[in-house]
Symmetry: C4
Subunit: 250 residues, 4 copies
């Protein structure tokens, strides 16, 4: 394996597919949202992505198995259109590795005749807020308008988007493929199921699939309580200015 490879199952057929990526990143919004969609909408594993740019490790399973680090592509059957959802253990470790993986994902998207690619990420505010908006950043005006109509908020984010969530729509621009990064507003220092829930909700409206959000809501509430409790404890011990400094909690 001297470059990134995508191994696909035989006989995969897709109906007007939209690609959605949810790889590890800020607040794990993408990962949580995409995994939830795969679970609830009964995604079928159709391809695996391996790369020499991933860390040189294998993962051990509880049952005594081992496997390479990878990203995995799932197919979710939809009424009007199928979804191709990509999740994974890791992202590439170097800049050139990140570009290579992103290009291979785009090669695959083109082969599968994907017209729109949505990457899910988190937008870190450093604040623990009640409100968790869903932002977008698009690779062309038409996509922006389309998603703006459906309630995605544009123009309120600044800075850069690091990794696959940014590079895939960025490189898609050069290939004239529509691409957008959907970002869940989040603190940035902990896993945010609440923000992931908002993202999934928006995607279900936009892509026209029905999905129960109960489990994600429940998980979000449980975690909210834990976070609030930690915050209160920190505040009691350190004074009110300290709550911004809580460290990363998984």
């Amino acid at each position: 394996m001297d470059e990134t490879i995508i191994k696909e199952k035989k006989g995969v057929e897709l109906k007007k597919p939209v690609m959605v990526t949810g790889l590890p990143g800020i607040g794990l919004i993408g990962q949580v949202a995409a995994k939830y969609m795969i679970k609830k909408l009964k995604g079928e594993k159709i391809a695996e992505i391996y790369s020499p740019h991933f860390p040189h490790q294998v993962l051990m399973s509880k049952k005594g198995g081992l496997r390479l680090l990878k990203n995995t592509v799932y197919k979710i059957r939809g009424k009007k259109q199928d979804l191709l959802v990509i999740i994974g253990d890791v992202q590439a470790v170097s800049s050139t590795g990140q570009y290579e993986v992103a290009e291979k994902i785009l090669d695959y998207a083109e082969e599968k005749k994907v017209k729109t690619i949505i990457t899910i990420g988190g937008y870190s505010t450093g604040k623990v807020g009640e409100k968790r908006r869903v932002f977008g950043s698009a690779n062309n005006k038409r996509v922006k308008k389309e998603f703006e109509k459906k309630g995605i908020i544009f123009g309120e984010t600044k800075g850069s988007i690091v990794g696959v969530a940014g590079l895939v729509p960025g490189l898609a621009q050069l290939r004239k493929i529509d691409g957008i990064c959907i970002m869940g507003e989040t603190h940035g220092s902990y896993v945010d199921h609440s923000s992931a829930k908002n993202v999934v909700e928006k995607l279900s409206e936009i892509l026209g699939f029905e999905i129960g959000l109960d489990e994600l809501e429940k998980e979000a509430k449980t975690r909210e309580k834990v976070i609030k409790k930690i915050e209160q404890e920190v505040e009691q011990q350190m004074g009110s200015g300290a709550k911004k400094d809580i460290t990363y909690i998984r």
Copy 2:
């Protein structure tokens, strides 16, 4: 994208072009000078440079758009000769990446029949001086003499020139293309519009274009005041030896 690419608009025609680069570096002299020239002389965007050796990020715009990090080539129409001015968000992150980008820029220069390449950089003195000279370092004696006649100061700089500003004229030497790095004298710890102004002024004399320097002068004066105020405050608090230690200000 497994290597650096230059995407050019169709139908670009150039008259005896001189290439000028102004990428991020010491005191942002090159970036400020080149951007100002493009703005005032109505540069036209003719090509974009993308590289897997740039950081693996995309930039978000205020309007909700996103795009890859890139360098951009502008054409400025001149009386006797056209200018090809290259500016950009970033430079490559690794040594091999820097060499690759520099070589691609030279390939493009050769294709466009560029005879002279001028890179703009900053020469850091660590001092906040009234006088900000314009130094040069050339890749052959003839170029040196030519620019010396026009008031560029040679032989008063030492050490090395890092990145595109150095590598492009360095590698140009192997291709027998005339190359020179023009360096604005600067403190090194802050963005120096005043030094950039001197560089633009010199270039306008050398390359024979007319350019109003008012805006650059105004910006320079505003920033000078801010720097001086900070210096005074630091001095008051820390004693007179402290002023050398002011940290980087953008």
Copy 3:
């Protein structure tokens, strides 16, 4: 040498070979176990592995010689099957280098018609225990069952296996080659001959070779005493909580 190479002696013939790797890693379990097998079972050097991904150094010998860093393949003649044992000075320094070396080892294994690959590693517990179990993590269920029958413990390890010990069976999975990592339980902060002895013992049962373990046992006991003495001294000086903090001892 722009990629990893394997230089093989001429005329190597092998009988149903099983590959065993023992490269530097946790507690040096793999290295100690594999070197001991080569020594006691009179392994014959049949191939050398060189890589530009190894550190850019050569080793000096006591006799005034020098040689490149390398991994070496030994053949051990068995009754039913031959062993191909790989040991070495180092592992590759980068992720992509690790993948390349692992793939070259697999190419060689396939060429030699190896059906099963066993990598030896250490599983770090951070505890100095009397008991040192031998764990396994396999790349398919059948291999797992086969080794479970012979007393290897599965499902009690978690996390990841770094380097050749993990990547080789991980990548072997994609080639449909049976692969397993055998891990000796160990503290992790010192070279553990006792755990290596347990691994060799298990392998002799599994692979059906006879090997005297006296020398390894003796070395293990000597080192145990040293470790215990150091522990006691640390404990006396620092209190009983300190013993977990003893540093790495070779």
Copy 4:
């Protein structure tokens, strides 16, 4: 330039050439010795080595010129045999880069029908001694014997040789080219002209050239005095144990 290149002057002819390298390394022994030989024996520049694995910088000259970082090959005309001496500004920055440069040097050596390659390095003892022996480490027994006869000391060095000084004879072994690293004994923390002198003296005996050592001796003595003075000062201020801690002095 996507790989290391060697640009040679036209019409170079050589008589039974021996290659000698003196690149930056421990105590700058190699660099000082090789530069001295080139200067005193009137070496003629015949080739230049450029590499994208060198740092991405150019050097400025006192006269206002700039040039790429490089290694340079000089020809020294001898009675019985010519010398090919390689000196340079830098070594490659990565492991793979070091291997590439070393292989290119060997390709060039083979092309020029070089039979023996001598790399000069320093062997760091951490001691400031009166005696500075000349050690050797060879890539085969025959070379060892040949150089042992001429007074080079073998078998008293241990550890590894980093960079070109080690890799070139190490990789030469795979090509069946005789290679040896000659190491001047040195403290390791300062430039050691005295040790370099001993190396040049030995080489003049071995390779049969006559060279005046006066200038090198003079420089060595001047520097010895400076080092001793610094040592005394450090000792006075810090007590006698401190002298081992003097920092690197060029």
